[in-house]
Symmetry: C2
Subunit: 195 residues, 2 copies
């Protein structure tokens, strides 16, 4: 997918979010404190509470920015359905780029908060809707152009969205990688592009 | 799937794990403290530290028991592949039984800790391996009996494992349910049992 997250923050609020993201990548959710965030922030730690009332508010803002950046950066080219699906399937490459691995891990850690937190669920529902809509459109365009052989593009797009969510979670929360090639081939079979 | 988790703990250690599980279901990972666990525990809170050195050790033991109970309770009948897949697809029922919803939520919350915690990853890798092996065997048996029409049972089993992981995460971390029926139908299509 080839993207850098929080690479060029503009303004103090974005710099604080970028520091929060780096601290999340470095230490994980359980160790995320004002202190660990402050260590990643070039300016005075006290500025953080000037801009955000609580760690919770800051983390939600960080999650919202992560979803915005994912939407903008995801390998989604409506003119190239096969290439876009290929690029998304980088998630099934055991040698995924380190910055993307970190991003996926951070997202999975924040997802873990959602069952008990409506604010996280709202943001993740928004991201999920966009991702699903993009996938349905890709499958539909691929079918229209004869690149994919799929009976129900909406059904296949929704399944791909669910499957890729599972991919992100399995790859960051288990040490097993044996399934990745098989899942990649099953996606080709689902799209009718398998050999 | 119709199971009750931590329903009949035997001994103090299991009672403490059951209390931890109830506190996790009630409050979520972020609010999980010795105090909230103690509120769910019938005996003296100080007993908890007599049996577990740290909250971390207790949570890992709780996760390990959750995975054991899931393995024992999962609707896995090697003699009935179609029925077993149907039962697993209860995860795609918006009206899933409350105790199972709670279990899935608790598991997703603990999964969120795994990217930065090797102990969680070890337990989840163990659970993942068992679940994947069961699914591959179910698909293989279904093919052998002519119930499923699948070219590569291992590939399909691994994909089902990944897809159902995605199902558990999507249903507990977003408010969108529109995809569930479509994913259920795509699973039928993958297994060659669709209409």
């Amino acid at each position: 997918m080839n993207v850098e997250f929080f690479d060029d923050p503009s303004g103090t609020r974005e710099e604080i979010q970028a520091a929060t993201y780096r601290a999340l990548c470095e230490h994980g959710y359980a160790e995320l404190t004002l202190e660990t965030i402050g260590e990643e922030f070039d300016k005075s730690t006290s500025l953080i509470y000037h801009h955000y009332d609580s760690k919770d508010e800051l983390l939600l803002a960080c999650l919202s920015s992560m979803i915005d950046q994912l939407e903008a950066s995801v390998a989604y080219d409506p003119e190239d359905p096969s290439g876009s699906i290929d690029a998304l399937c980088d998630l099934l490459d055991p040698d995924l780029d380190r910055s993307e691995c970190q991003f996926v891990s951070a997202l999975v850690e924040l997802r873990g908060q959602a069952p008990h937190h409506e604010g996280y669920r709202e943001q993740l529902t928004r991201g999920d809707d966009v991702f699903e809509t993009q996938l349905i459109e890709l499958v539909q365009t691929g079918v229209d152009r004869g690149e994919f052989d799929v009976t129900d593009p909406e059904q296949t797009g929704k399944t791909l969205c669910t499957l890729l969510t599972g991919v992100m979670v399995r790859r960051t929360t288990t040490d097993n990688e044996d399934w990745m090639i098989d899942v990649r081939e099953e996606i080709d079979a689902m799209l009718g592009t398998g050999k």
